[in-house]
C-alpha cells in the first residue's frame, strides 16, 4: 500500500474550516434576525409616536369628528427620509374620515383598542409597516372608537438592518479568519512530533538495530512501540542467526579438524601404493571439504554482517596488507614470488574491516590456488575516485566469457575442473554491498591477469 491519504494537516485544517464556516453562518443568520428586530423596534417607536400624535389631534367639534394633521408627526416620520407615509383615519362609524381608504392591515380594527397593533403588508406593490391605534371619542351621539392607521414603507429599516448585518458579517469573518489562522498554527505545532518522528526514521541507518529513543506524545507511542518491537525482533533474529552460524561453524569444524588430524597421522610408509593413492585422495577431498566449509560459513557470516553492522572508515592499505599476510601460507611453494604493494597515499573507504578482508583474502586465495604459477602480486592503488585492490598472477587467467559467471556461487567453469566455490561470490557480494564492484583484466603481452575490487573512496574533508 503505497497510496496515501491527504496529509493530517490538510485533513484537520479542512475540518476546522468547515466547523468555523458553519459557526460563522449561524452567527450571521442570528445577526440578521437581531438586526431586523432592532431596526423594527427603532422605527416602530417612531411610527407609534406619529400615530399617537395623530390620534391626539382628533377632536370633536360641533359634534363632528375633525382631524388636523399635526406637522410634528410627519417630522417624526421624516427621520426616515426616503420612506413614504400613508395614513387613514377611521371614524367611529367605520367610515374613512381622511387619508387613503384602501389601507386595511386587518379586517378587525377593534383589536387595537387594547394596544396598538403592528403589521406588515403590501400596499400598492411595496412592503409597508403599519400601526393601528384606537382612540375613544365621545360625542353627543355617544362614545365610539376612532382609529388611526399609519403605514410607512420599509426602506429605512431595511437599510438599517442590512447595515447592522454587514457589520456583524465583517466582524464574524474577521474572527473566523483569525480562528482559522490560529488553528492552522496550532495544528502545525501539534503535528510537529509526527514530523520529527518521520525525520528520525528517515535519517536512521538501515543497519541500525537499536530501538528508537525518541520522546513522543502519547498518541504516537503505539507506533514507536511497535517499531521498536519490530526492530528488537529483527535484531534478535539477526543475533540468533549469527549465533547459529557460529555454533554450527564450531560443530562442523571440530570433527573436520579431527578428521584431518587423524588422516595426517596415518603412516604412509606402511601402505601399499594403492592405499597411498587412496589416502592422497582422502587428503585432497578433506582439504576441499575444509575449504568449502570455511567459505560457506564465512559467506553466511559476511553477508549477515551487513544486516547489522554499521560501516566505518577503513584504510584500504591496512586491510589489504592484513588480508595478504593472513592468506599467503608460510608453507607456500618457495619458488613462488609473492609481493604486496601498498598505495603511497592513504586510501580510506567506508566499509566493514572484516568483510572487506575476507573479500580480498578470497581473491588472493583463489589466485594462489588456481592462478599463480610462479608470481603473485597484490597492490592497493588509487583509480580516479576509486580505491582499487589488484590481485595479479602469472597464470593463464580466467577466460573473458567466464568473467560474468565466476562471481556466481558455485559456478563450474568448463575449462577448469571443479568449481571455484564461493570465493569470488563473497568478494563480489562484499564489493556490491560497499558500493563497489569486482572486475577482471585479461592477460596481455606485457601484463599479467588481474582481478580487482574497486571501492568508492571517502571524500576527505580539507582541513
Amino acid at each position: 500500500m503505497t497510496a496515501h491519504k491527504s496529509s493530517l494537516f490538510s485533513r484537520l485544517a479542512r475540518r476546522v474550516a468547515v466547523v468555523l464556516a458553519l459557526g460563522a453562518a449561524t452567527l450571521i443568520t442570528a445577526a440578521w434576525f437581531y438586526a431586523r428586530a432592532a431596526a423594527d423596534e427603532a422605527y416602530d417607536r417612531l411610527l407609534l409616536g406619529a400615530a399617537f400624535q395623530m390620534a391626539e389631534s382628533l377632536v370633536v367639534a360641533d359634534d363632528r369628528l375633525s382631524f388636523v394633521l399635526p406637522p410634528s408627526a410627519f417630522e417624526l416620520l421624516g427621520l426616515a427620509q426616503r420612506d413614504r407615509i400613508f395614513y387613514r383615519v377611521v371614524d367611529p362609524s367605520g367610515e374613512t374620515l381622511t387619508g387613503y381608504g384602501d389601507i386595511s392591515p386587518s379586517a378587525d380594527l377593534s383589536r387595537s383598542r387594547a394596544a396598538p397593533v403592528f403589521a406588515n403588508m403590501a400596499y400598492r406593490g411595496v412592503e409597508v409597516r403599519t400601526v393601528t391605534t384606537a382612540r375613544a371619542v365621545t360625542s353627543q351621539s355617544g362614545t365610539g372608537w376612532a382609529y388611526v392607521i399609519v403605514a410607512q414603507t420599509t426602506e429605512a429599516r431595511q437599510a438599517l438592518a442590512s447595515e447592522l448585518t454587514t457589520r456583524a458579517v465583517i466582524l464574524v469573518a474577521a474572527m473566523s479568519l483569525l480562528a482559522l489562522i490560529g488553528s492552522a498554527l496550532a495544528i502545525r505545532l501539534s503535528l510537529r512530533p509526527v514530523d520529527q518522528l518521520g525525520d528520525i526514521l528517515r535519517q536512521r541507518d538501515p543497519q541500525d538495530l537499536t530501538p528508537l529513543a525518541a520522546t513522543v506524545p502519547r498518541e504516537l507511542l503505539p507506533f514507536v512501540t511497535s517499531i521498536n518491537h519490530f526492530i528488537n525482533r529483527l535484531d534478535e533474529r539477526v543475533r540468533l542467526l549469527q549465533r547459529y552460524i557460529a555454533d554450527s561453524a564450531h560443530q562442523i569444524r571440530t570433527p573436520l579438524t579431527a578428521l584431518t588430524a587423524q588422516v595426517s597421522l596415518i603412516n604412509e610408509d606402511t601402505l601399499s601404493p594403492d592405499d597411498r593413492r587412496h589416502l592422497e585422495r582422502v587428503r585432497n577431498r578433506t582439504a576441499e571439504l575444509a575449504r568449502f566449509t570455511n567459505q560457506l560459513l564465512n559467506h553466511a557470516m559476511v553477508i549477515h554482517r551487513f544486516d547489522s553492522t554499521q560501516l566505518a572508515p577503513v584504510s584500504l592499505n591496512d586491510v589489504a596488507r592484513k588480508a595478504f599476510r593472513a592468506t599467503v601460507p608460510i608453507t607456500i611453494d618457495p619458488d613462488m614470488v609473492v609481493s604486496f604493494e601498498a598505495s603511497e597515499e592513504e586510501l580510506t573507504v567506508l566499509g566493514d574491516l572484516l568483510s572487506l578482508r575476507e573479500a580480498i583474502a578470497n581473491v588472493i586465495d583463489n589466485a594462489l590456488r588456481h592462478g599463480a604459477t610462479s608470481r603473485l602480486e597484490v597492490r592497493a592503488t588509487r583509480f580516479g575516485d576509486l580505491g582499487r585492490i589488484e590481485v595479479c598472477d602469472d597464470g593463464p587467467g580466467i577466460p573473458p566469457e567466464d568473467w560474468a559467471n565466476v562471481t556466481k556461487r558455485f559456478y563450474s567453469s568448463r575449462t577448469e575442473k571443479g568449481s571455484s566455490g564461493l570465493g569470488f561470490a563473497i568478494a563480489s557480494e562484499v564489493a556490491f554491498e560497499l558500493g563497489g564492484q569486482i572486475g577482471f583484466r585479461g592477460k596481455t603481452a606485457g601484463l599479467p591477469f588481474c582481478v580487482y575490487i574497486d571501492l568508492p573512496l571517502v571524500k576527505e574533508d580539507k582541513g
Binding site: 564450531h250 571440530t254 597421522l265 557470516m301 608460510i330 618457495p334 609481493s339 602480486e377
Partner: protein, 225 residues
C-alpha cells in the same frame, strides 16, 4: 623446545602432539582451560598452542590472564568459531598468530617454527638496507621499493648475510655454514638454489646479487657503494 598444547578435542590434540614430538619437541597436553591456566602460572614454555572453545576457562581468558602476568611466551590460537572477530580479538589480546580450524598441519608446524625461532632469536630492532631493498629483522619483512616481498626463512637469512656487508664477497662455503649450521648436511647446490630464488624475488630492485665465478656472491647496490 617445550610446548603447551591446550586442546579439548582428543583426535586433534593427539595429532598435534605426535607431530611436534616427531620433530623433537616436548609437548604438554591439557584439555581443561582452568588447569592449563594454572600450569602456565608456574611453568615456563617456549610456545603455547591454544584452542578457543575449552571446558573450564576459554582460550581468550587464558590468554588475557597470561598477558596480564606479563608473560611474553608466544601464543598461537586455534579457533573453530566462524565469528571472524575472533581472530582480530585474539590478536588484540596478545596472540602472536592464529589458525582457523580446520588447518593444514604443515602450516601449523611452519607457523609454530616461526614463533619458536622468534623466541630464541631475540635480535635487536634493526633494519638493514641496500639499494632500495630494506630488511626489517624484527618483523622479518622485506621491502623492495614500495613492494613488500614475502621471503622464506632461509631466503631471509641469506639476504640478511649478504646485506649485512654489501659489496663483500661471500664464498659458497661461508654461506653454507651460516645458512645451515654444522648439524645440517646440505650441498653447494642448495646455495645456488636459494640464490636463484632470492634473485627472482628481488627482481626490479636497485641492488643485485652478483655471482663471481669460482669465488662467491656479493650484493651490489646500483646507487654506488
Amino acid at each position: 623446545m617445550r610446548i603447551l598444547l591446550v586442546e579439548d578435542t582428543h583426535d586433534v590434540g593427539e595429532a598435534i602432539c605426535r607431530r611436534f614430538q616427531q620433530t623433537g619437541h616436548t609437548v604438554d597436553w591439557e584439555t581443561d582451560g582452568s588447569a592449563a591456566s594454572d600450569i602456565l602460572a608456574y611453568t615456563e614454555y617456549d610456545l603455547v598452542i591454544l584452542d578457543v572453545m575449552l571446558p573450564g576457562l576459554d582460550g581468550f581468558s587464558i590468554l588475557r590472564k597470561l598477558r596480564q602476568s606479563k608473560s611474553g611466551v608466544p601464543v598461537l590460537v586455534l579457533t573453530a568459531r566462524s565469528e571472524i572477530d575472533d581472530r582480530v580479538g585474539a590478536l588484540d589480546l596478545g596472540a602472536d598468530d592464529y589458525l582457523m580450524k580446520p588447518f593444514d598441519f604443515r602450516e601449523l608446524e611452519a607457523r609454530a617454527r616461526v614463533l619458536l625461532r622468534r623466541r630464541s632469536g631475540g635480535e635487536a630492532t634493526n633494519v638493514i638496507a641496500c639499494g632500495d631493498i630494506s630488511l626489517d629483522r624484527t618483523n622479518r619483512s622485506v621491502m623492495v621499493g614500495k613492494r613488500e616481498v614475502q621471503l622464506k626463512r632461509r631466503e631471509m637469512t641469506l639476504l640478511e648475510i649478504l646485506a649485512s656487508r654489501p659489496g663483500k664477497v661471500f664464498s659458497k662455503e661461508e654461506l653454507l655454514d651460516q645458512l645451515f649450521g654444522f648439524d645440517e648436511a646440505a650441498g653447494a647446490n642448495a646455495i645456488e638454489l636459494y640464490i636463484g630464488r632470492l634473485r627472482k624475488k628481488l627482481e626490479g630492485a636497485k641492488a643485485r646479487i652478483v655471482t663471481l665465478r669460482g669465488v662467491g656472491y656479493q650484493l651490489v647496490s646500483d646507487d654506488g657503494p
